[in-house]
Symmetry: C2
Subunit: 206 residues, 2 copies
């Protein structure tokens, strides 16, 4: 018994969205990739947009959950951020759904994707709060939290684009590299990074 057609549609659509964008991908292409006829898609999803909505949900929901859990269980904002970045990048790397095409902000603008847009905002707010906590407690430099949040999102996004790029480098080490880079940019005392990583790994492992 092969994988659920519904899931195969999601996987194929995600891959195509990543390569050609949402608008640049036709339902016919998705259908061809799944090896069904184009109208069959509409038995599983009400619309092309509904496919995207489910992809977004399947990425945003667990990500938001992870971050909130980490924030609750890890008092130190620096370690929480470090652990979040590790987990997020690692998760993106192993997910069957290629996330590279679903966060082009243009597409999230559509009124039909309001719930997803709200979740994404919530995620951004959580990260931003984490940065603010770090600044208030004095561990982070006093950067503009909005800027830091954007820088982090941009790096994460662009890092996952490296999935199959030619100049990808050592992919397995990417989560750590990213977390390290971000924390170094934020920490008032970069030497503290060893301790931060240590605490982050402790919380992550249990």
């Amino acid at each position: 018994m092969t994988t659920d057609t519904r899931v195969r549609i999601l996987i194929a659509a995600a891959a195509l969205f990543a390569r050609k964008g949402f608008h640049g991908t036709s339902t016919r292409e998705i259908a061809a990739a799944v090896d069904v006829r184009q109208p069959s898609l509409f038995h599983h999803f009400a619309s092309k947009q509904a496919i995207l909505a489910e992809l977004l949900d399947r990425d945003l929901d667990p990500t938001l959950g992870r971050l909130r859990r980490l924030r609750a269980s890890t008092p130190d904002p620096a370690s929480a951020l470090y652990a979040y970045l590790l987990e997020d990048i690692a998760e993106l790397a192993v997910s069957p759904f290629d996330a590279r095409g679903i966060y082009n902000d243009e597409v999230l603008e559509d009124p039909g994707l309001r719930p997803q847009r709200r979740k994404r905002r919530a995620l951004h707010a959580e990260i931003r709060e984490l940065v603010e906590e770090g600044i208030e407690s004095g561990v982070f430099r006093s950067v503009d939290p909005a800027f830091a949040r954007r820088a982090i999102s941009g790096m994460v996004l662009d890092t996952i684009w490296a999935k199959e790029s030619d100049d990808a480098g050592d992919l397995a080490d990417r989560p750590r590299q990213l977390a390290e880079f971000v924390l170094r940019g934020l920490l008032r005392d970069p030497a503290a990074i060893e301790a931060v990583r240590q605490r982050a790994l402790e919380t992550g492992d249990r």
Copy 2:
């Protein structure tokens, strides 16, 4: 005498591409924004893609030029990178052409945009080399240069997205914040950042 229609098309198209993406923007919308009929566009540009191509050229050519000039005139890679980031972000902020929509990699894949794709690769290569030089000379930590290049691109891209966002923070200070963040992530000795900034400003000012 109002601005050249050709230029007004470029400005309007860039703004729409930024908001809705290339595929998500129709030539009708562009025409409406310029207040001409849709077929009139084709007097100025051979195709919709040609509009995008020119936008890319107008951004890539000067950017690549600036970076190469800086590399030639600034022996210290750390300062060169700092100066480049300052200039690049500042330039993006004042450009009449909104650059946010033109670098969705999906769209650069089209065979018709090969020249632009090549230029972009060249730009990436230059940045990567800058990072490599910094590592070889011992000023930068030994990060994966491909990763660093991606992180930088991602941050720049996402930073310009902040142009009119609600949580934009202090926009005027963004170039410095970005350059500082990146250099802190790279420098082996973060305390050296003062000297790096100093040298960068000297080269930039003349």
